[in-house]
């Protein structure tokens, strides 16, 4: 992954926090490569689902098929779908209908799938990395707020610089193939995910997370002026939980056993940018969610 350090770090934070990751960026920026590399380095199973308008829930969860044995006896057998993996790349998630998108919800939130009344537990670790293209919105079904809230972080991938673009061209069009080195086992990753939850959050740091979340609400006394004017709905309580989880993962990456306010500030943009619903005035004024998150962080600094 050339020239995308923020993408790698924020995806890692999502994975370590045991959450799901939404990546927004143009096609061809290496999102599939990132998932494949992660799966290789972590020795976990990965799958890729290309979302299309005709994709049905059973296409991703799996379905029951009629099987006939040697004696001629017929039985219904469950054939697992691509969601039965550790790392699932849901490519262009906003191209599928809401029915199929919502089939992902149970897997994302509860790490389980229910088919024909039978509940199947997914193997840990489980993480959905979904992508959406910000430009081509025709024929898409935007994710509803409730589903967006289920993503621990949203990562925005920018277009690479000319130097990075040149390096990508040289590195990927020759004969050399690069495979990721195995860094840890599946069990070690699960142990690290448990360790993330043991990172200490002092009461005053939890209060900072609560204040950040509160300041995203236009009706709150402490929210900045532009939030009051341009935001329709602020972040949910799940955002505060996500701030602390991502903050814990950020502290672990830095080798600290405790979360500081600087961790919350570092993770606030990817945690909050998909959880603040902006009004039409924001579009007119050309104000982005990231700019408003900056205003929110200004209130606690």
């Amino acid at each position: 992954m050339l020239g995308q350090p923020a993408l790698c770090r924020e995806v890692m934070i999502g994975l370590l926090g045991g959450g799901n990751v939404l990546i927004e960026g143009q096609p061809g920026l290496g999102k599939t490569l990132l998932v494949r590399t992660l799966a290789d380095a972590l020795a976990i199973e990965a799958s890729r689902i290309q979302f299309t308008p005709d994709l049905m829930p059973a296409d991703i969860t799996g379905t029951q098929v009629l099987m006939r044995d040697d004696t001629g006896k017929s039985t219904l057998e469950f054939r697992k779908g691509p969601l039965f993996a550790n790392l699932v790349l849901a490519d262009e998630i906003n191209r599928a209908t809401p029915k199929t998108q919502s089939a992902l919800l149970e897997a994302m939130q509860e790490h389980a799938i229910t088919v024909a009344g039978v509940r199947y537990q997914l193997t840990e670790p489980f993480c959905v990395i979904a992508t959406q293209n910000p430009i081509e919105t025709e024929g898409t079904y935007p994710l509803p707020e409730a589903q967006l809230d289920r993503f621990l972080v949203k990562v925005v991938v920018g277009f690479p610089t000319i130097d990075v673009l040149r390096s990508i061209g040289i590195a990927t069009t020759g004969t050399a193939t690069q495979a990721a080195r195995r860094v840890m086992t599946r069990e070690q990753l699960i142990a690290i995910q448990r360790l993330v939850r043991q990172i200490v959050v002092a009461p005053h740091v939890a209060e900072v997370a609560a204040k950040i979340t509160m300041a995203t609400h236009p009706e709150a006394v402490e929210s900045p002026a532009r939030v009051k004017k341009l935001v329709r709905f602020g972040a949910s309580p799940r955002a505060m939980q996500a701030l602390l989880l991502a903050g814990r993962a950020n502290a672990l990456l830095a080798g600290r056993a405790w979360v500081g306010a600087e961790d919350l500030i570092a993770v606030a943009p990817p945690v909050l940018r998909h959880r603040m619903i902006l009004g039409f005035d924001a579009t007119l004024d050309g104000v982005t969610t990231d700019a408003l998150v900056g205003d929110v962080l200004g209130t606690i600094q």
């Binding site: 890692m12 509860e110 690290i192 939850r197």
Partner: protein, 37 residues
């Protein structure tokens, strides 16, 4: 796991965090980040 418990956070920190486990995890994660580029 219920929807709400998926994000349930242990606000009570453990008395002793395994410092060796912390250092090993941080080292492994930084190696992973290097591997990803």
């Amino acid at each position: 796991m219920s929807q709400d418990s998926a994000f349930a956070l242990p606000f009570q920190a453990p008395a002793v965090l395994d410092e060796h486990a912390l250092a090993t995890a941080t080292s492994q994660l930084n190696t992973l980040l290097e591997e990803l580029g």
